[in-house]
């Protein structure tokens, strides 16, 4: 039972939690505006407008009138509580986790709760996206306050009904109880009364003491899982719009190429084909690119017709670009001084010269695609200057803006339904498929479902960019790292670092090596790049954490202890969010040493353990991989230990462990198998035979631990991934003495 008095007693702790939340680097706005109203059919309706969205608020009449759809919380007379899930569900579990936050503070039983996917409406819901592991840090505080405000209104309604002081009332399981008399009344009964009360100040509502949590911190299965295992339609690709036709869209295989002409008449005469037309498109690599659309009465017929399509392309300048060419340019640039200096501490040249030991190494990694299992798709209806869109997108708001701009429709006339998403991994932060579907629907004059085939998906991804790093490191006579020189050869778009191709000057070990320089040289790129799960970090962790491991071995020190020593004293170094907290990095390293029994077991020959630690998207992970390398070079991962610090609370432990294991396996897939090759400006790979994903037989057991620290909770989609790759490569070195400096791992070089 949650008592008002207990709440007062624990308000110190609550205040502390609020302070923690307030110190969260990606905190959401402090001021929230809550509205109450009577729901259609009776009951309490709580909706909330997050401020700073004045533009969206001016959008028009839908807000406020369609109150039931726009509500965050709806309490029906039968005591069923419906909570809107505001962000897209891409498998990260937010459709379960975000409503848990509200339900906890509302003080209802999870069994009473139904969750519903909200429509896109940032005026009501604030930012609605799934990216950057931000759902937790952005919503942890505001959503709990919405729940707490609702609870407070229900208590007030009960106290008035009984004519007793509120302090004599307590709540639990969706009921208010008058403690002295033992009377109870359900939230459902009180809801209509509560709806007429003024809404409390969200800043002042009292939050629970975490020790009283009954939902947060308890494993709650995914809310849609029972539908998933029965095969019910949930995903974007399952959408059916009345009267819709099916579309495919053939873009130029060379990025940015334009259509000169196509055999449209021949295509239109094929069975089932209703429309075939050229889309002029734009020059936005993440938007509507030129191509040919085919609209037919079945997807199969549309895709079949495409095989007869004969398009004359103007391939443009990117047709000259290739992976082999990039490789050559990188080698040339790497041999010169960097074109730009990102950071320069001390005197690196002198320190390298006087170092007791010096190592030189060149690291590189390829472009890779996302390979979400649900191919890109979108269903759209465009009629009379209005659009309705069903999109499996991670980022609906910019998607709507893109459609509005490209089609010349007002944003307020576009309704976006967020469907369940069959994998995001950052690919669906872009909305190219969304604007394609909308454009094709507009031209065809009928609702269409656009579905890409797998080749479209792999050959028109927004790729994780490749990169090259030319490194020198120096140790002093005591084996301490005293010099670090790094020349990053990366890619540019419009003269700047291409998306997700940059290197922050703060990247660790910056600040911990007296003589350190980071520089960069850029190769102009016509291939679209962008975020892949743990963008930047998924590549940089491999380079930095492998080279630190090299230095540790060169120094003749235990690699894990070398890492701890390098972190130095507990301190906040400049970095993303609030910065890089060396104490938290040390904490996860010490814990992973303990749980893995690091260095304490004698391992068989050609078996080794590797360690890595990384700070990514506000979370800290240290991971140890134990790998065995066969005589023929095949790598088998025996066991993984992962320790994460994502703050004071693991909101949904079952989902947290699942997500961590998945992210680590994702890292292994990248390290072991994945690469996209560009030839003549186009992608060579086309399906999962040439761009392999990890399979069951390769899925190593992963033991996951969380270190709870006094920091505001943060997300988990990305943080576990980066360390997995260098931990694996460092394990391979321990097993074989061969250093992996190029991804994907070439097992041929690992032969005994």
């Amino acid at each position: 039972m949650l008592r008002e008095r207990q709440l007062s007693n624990s308000s110190n702790r609550s205040a502390k939690m609020q302070m923690l939340a307030a110190s969260a680097p990606l905190r959401a706005s402090r001021r929230n505006f809550l509205k109450a109203g009577v729901a259609a059919g009776g009951g309490l309706l709580l909706s909330c407008a997050l401020p700073g969205l004045a533009k969206a608020a001016a959008m028009g009449p839908t807000e406020g009138t369609s109150a039931v759809l726009n509500a965050f919380v709806r309490i029906a007379p039968d005591n069923v509580v419906t909570i809107m899930a505001k962000n897209p569900e891409i498998g990260q579990g937010v459709k379960t986790m975000l409503p848990m936050l509200i339900a906890e503070e509302l003080d209802v039983d999870w069994a009473q709760v139904r969750t519903e996917q909200a429509l896109l409406n940032p005026t009501l819901y604030g930012r609605q996206h799934a990216g950057g592991s931000t759902s937790t840090p952005q919503n942890w505080d505001p959503l709990r306050r919405i729940g707490a405000a609702g609870r407070q209104m229900l208590v007030t309604a009960a106290a008035r009904r009984w004519n007793v002081p509120e302090s004599e009332c307590e709540t639990a399981s969706g009921q208010v109880r008058h403690t002295p008399t033992g009377r109870t009344v359900s939230y459902g009964t009180l809801a209509s009364d509560a709806a007429t009360l003024p809404v409390p100040d969200l800043k002042k509502v009292r939050l629970k003491d975490p020790k009283d949590y009954k939902i947060i911190g308890h494993s709650i299965p995914g809310v849609d899982s029972s539908k998933v295992v029965r095969g019910e339609p949930l995903f974007g690709i399952d959408t059916v719009a009345p009267g819709m036709l099916y579309a495919v869209f053939q873009k130029c295989p060379v990025f940015g190429g334009k259509v000169v002409g196509a055999n449209l008449d021949a295509i239109k005469s094929l069975p089932g084909v209703h429309h075939a037309f050229v889309v002029e498109g734009t020059t936005n690599l993440n938007g509507l690119m030129p191509g040919v659309a085919i609209v037919a009465d079945s997807w199969w017929r549309a895709d079949k017709a495409r095989r007869r399509l004969d398009v004359k392309w103007d391939e443009g300048a990117t047709g000259q670009q290739s992976s082999a060419g990039f490789e050559r340019q990188a080698a040339e640039l790497g041999a010169k001084a960097p074109a730009q200096v990102l950071r320069n501490d001390g005197d690196v040249a002198a320190a390298l010269k006087s170092a007791a030991h010096m190592i030189e190494a060149a690291y590189s990694y390829p472009f890779i695609a996302h390979g979400a299992l649900e191919p890109m798709n979108c269903t759209a209806k465009v009629q009379d200057g209005r659009a309705e869109i069903w999109a499996p997108t991670q980022n609906p708001e910019p998607g709507r803006a893109l459609v509005a701009k490209t089609l010349g429709i007002d944003e307020k006339d576009i309704v976006v339904h967020m469907t369940r998403v069959g994998g995001g991994f950052g690919r669906r932060l872009a909305n190219d498929y969304m604007v394609e579907a909308a454009w094709i629907a507009k031209v065809a004059g009928v609702p269409v479902k656009l579905v890409w085939n797998r080749a479209d998906d792999i050959q028109h991804d927004i790729y994780r960019p490749g990169g090259w790093h030319f490194l020198k490191g120096g140790l002093d006579g005591n084996g301490r790292l005293v010099a670090w020189q790094q020349h990053f050869v990366s890619f540019s778009r419009n003269g700047k670092f291409a998306p997700s191709a940059d290197l922050s000057a703060d990247t660790f070990p910056a600040g911990r090596v007296a003589n350190l320089s980071y520089g960069a040289s850029l190769i102009p790129l016509g291939v679209p790049t962008g975020p892949l799960r743990a963008p930047g970090d998924n590549a940089l962790a491999f380079v930095f954490q492998s080279f630190i491991d090299e230095m540790a071995h060169e120094a003749g020190k235990d690699p894990l202890q070398f890492q701890i020593d390098l972190l130095g004293r507990d301190e906040m170094l400049p970095g993303k969010g609030a910065g890089f907290n060396t104490a938290r990095a040390r904490g996860v390293l010490e814990k992973v040493r303990e749980v893995s029994g690091w260095g304490q077991r004698k391992l068989p020959s050609r078996t080794g353990q590797g360690v890595a630690v990384y700070y990514s998207h506000l979370g800290y992970f240290a991971e140890i991989v134990e790998a065995a390398v066969a005589e023929n070079g095949a790598v088998k991962i025996n066991q993984v230990w992962a320790v994460g610090d994502i703050g004071s609370q693991i909101i949904n432990p079952t989902a947290a462990v699942n997500m961590t294991q998945g992210a680590i396996l994702d890292g292994f897939a990248e390290a072991l198998h994945q690469q996209i090759t560009i030839e003549n400006g186009r992608v060579v790979q086309a399906n999962f035979d040439t761009f392999p994903l990890l399979r069951m037989s390769q899925a190593a057991p992963i033991e996951v631990h969380f270190l709870k620290t006094d920091n505001s909770p943060t997300g988990l989609g990305e943080p576990p991934l980066p360390a997995a790759i260098p931990a694996l490569c460092n394990a391979i070195f321990a097993a074989t003495g061969k250093r992996i400096r190029t991804l994907p791992i070439d097992t041929a070089v690992l032969k005994a």
């Binding site: 569900e89 498998g91 299965p221 095969g231 199969w300 079949k304 997500m659 069951m696």
Partner: protein
């Protein structure tokens, strides 16, 4: 694909040379119900299920027999419906993820999937359960190696493999449990 990963090629049906690509009428027996569809004879079963019969649980992942998202049973055998033309089905009984719960093994697997909380995005899971149901039908107590070889054709991009393995084992155990109960009574 590295050669150390066998991908099950237990699809008994192959593209034939005899499809003409022109429209035909087919009678299909799916999840115990009869359907009549008019489609091109080269249409993969996948698209007939999804877009003609409106059973959306069978998923399109690769269209090339590489991912297993489209796995269904044809007369009990696991088949990649994306590479199985409708003209090859004949009078065989098709079972999809929507129908597998009507079998005891399917129901146990679905329950185990929920108990273990396997699902991340969920897109692969229908196909995973179909492959697992075929495995448990022929092998009541699969070893880890048995699970690897039966499930290696089903990709889970989200990496839920550990839980898939655990759920299969749980469903197998409840099977043995119920068999033992039967024996005693």
């Amino acid at each position: 694909m590295p050669d150390d990963i066998p991908i099950p090629t237990d699809t008994p049906y192959r593209w034939g040379e005899w499809q003409t690509g022109s429209i035909m009428q087919y009678k299909l027996h799916v999840n115990g119900r009869d359907h009549t569809v008019d489609v091109d004879d080269d249409t993969p079963l996948l698209w007939v299920l999804r877009d003609e019969i409106e059973l959306k649980g069978t998923k399109f992942g690769c269209g090339a027999g590489l991912c297993g998202a489209c796995t269904v049973h044809i007369d009990g055998a696991p088949v990649r419906s994306c590479t199985t033309p409708i003209s090859n089905i004949g009078s065989a009984a098709v079972t999809t993820i929507e129908g597998i719960g009507d079998t005891p093994i399917g129901a146990r697997l679905q329950k185990a999937w929920l108990d273990v909380d396997v699902v991340q995005c969920g897109y692969c899971q229908g196909g995973q359960i179909m492959s697992a149901a075929a495995l448990l039908t022929r092998n009541h107590a699969p070893s880890d190696d048995d699970i690897d070889s039966a499930m290696n054709g089903n990709i889970c991009r989200c990496g839920t493999y550990a839980r898939i393995r655990q759920a299969i084992k749980q469903a197998a155990r409840t099977d043995l449990g119920s068999a033992a109960t039967k024996k005693r009574t």
